[in-house]
Homo-oligomer: 226 residues x 2
């Protein structure tokens, strides 16, 4: 398990791929640094994307409301992730989803106009934005395909393992992920009830440990069923 620190994840962000250290500093200096509390909403889906965000510390969820009032999680944001990519284009489009902090967060923000200037000077970041968006698209297509072809159990296991990699904090017993059953289930497209049942079984088998609002992955190999 590669356990990089949060500041490391920021400078190693895909957003800065191929950018010199000097330019990174210039780009970051053009941003504003902000802190928000857990549960704060950064923006609502459907509103105009006027800002690009780079998460530095903490965690957030990217989600959409369903017609029935539930929330469908689109992505579990971790330090180094950018979101609000719609702010990159000349005529801003809408945010696709809403973003809400799941923990206290620190992040950089660029306003649309600032970003356009930067993109003119450092075309590489435009390139990176497109590459990241394509990766988001590929991830989502994979997720959709999974929901049609594999079982709830396989999906949940994959999702949990991936979260362990991305968002896992090192812990004496394994990788700890701060997420509720319901959120985890939503990310895997599994109901909270099925999620609960599967987690219980894995706990009984010693693969994971459960605390309220967090999962500790003890034996990842026990989750691989493929």
């Amino acid at each position: 398990m590669k356990s990089s620190t949060e500041p490391e994840r920021v400078v190693q962000s895909e957003f800065f791929a191929g950018v010199t250290e000097r330019d990174k500093r210039l780009i970051l200096r053009a941003a504003k640094y902000r802190k928000i509390d857990a549960k704060s909403v950064l923006f609502q889906g459907g509103t105009t994307a006027l800002h690009l965000f780079l998460l530095c510390s903490g965690g957030a969820k990217y989600y959409r409301m369903t017609r029935q009032g539930g929330e469908l999680l689109l992505r579990w944001l971790v330090p180094g992730d950018i979101f609000g990519i719609g702010a990159f284009v000349k005529e801003p489009v809408s945010y696709i989803g809403s973003a809400q902090a799941t923990e206290d967060c620190g992040f950089y923000v660029w306003a649309h106009s600032t970003l356009r200037e930067l993109a003119g000077i450092h075309p590489q970041i435009s390139d990176n934005a497109l590459r990241i968006t394509l990766a988001y698209l590929a991830t989502f297509i994979e997720r959709h395909a999974s929901s049609l072809t594999i079982t709830a159990e396989q999906r949940l296991a994959h999702t949990l393992l991936q979260l362990g990699h991305q968002a896992g904090r090192s812990h004496s017993l394994g990788a700890e992920v701060a997420i509720t059953n319901e959120e985890l289930g939503s990310l895997a497209d599994v109901s909270q009830f099925t999620t609960c049942r599967l987690l219980s079984r894995w706990k009984k088998q010693g693969a994971i440990a459960k605390l309220r609002g967090r999962v500790i992955i003890q034996s990842p190999e026990k989750l691989l069923v493929d």
Copy 2:
């Protein structure tokens, strides 16, 4: 129903949004024009994206193979659509899916290196590529959400109506879409059997007419159930 001709759809492509007529011509001149027969495969998903395509005439499908050997349709490509957007980034990534002509096609192709030069000269097309990719992402997220929240019938109706708009050819009885039940079902995430049953019902109700390999939408309003 806006029934634009195929050449119109090409020059009005989102890919050229905000580009002067003069520059459009320069960009198109840098491409090669190619023709292929129905059923030809343009590229396979997973291979390196070395070319960007702009469909001019005919039709194609963008799809992924599932582990079980079926094909999951990702998008029904129509004249004016670009695909192979991975060829836009500096270090090319993989095609997310495969593309296959469903009819005889004409299209423009740009090689990666050519495209990079053009993007340097006309930054607007990079911007357009990002905007289009974001739109693809939004569409896909919407589709995924639909598959979790609305019924097969509603999904199929939406998909069919949208296809009528995008890919509908004017016909004495209504808009004609050249697609099989199985393909239509795959686009809506509905099995071919359910698709067949729903289409039969709609036919009985006079909403559509069916021919082998094509659907004619006679009364779109009869499909709106919301």
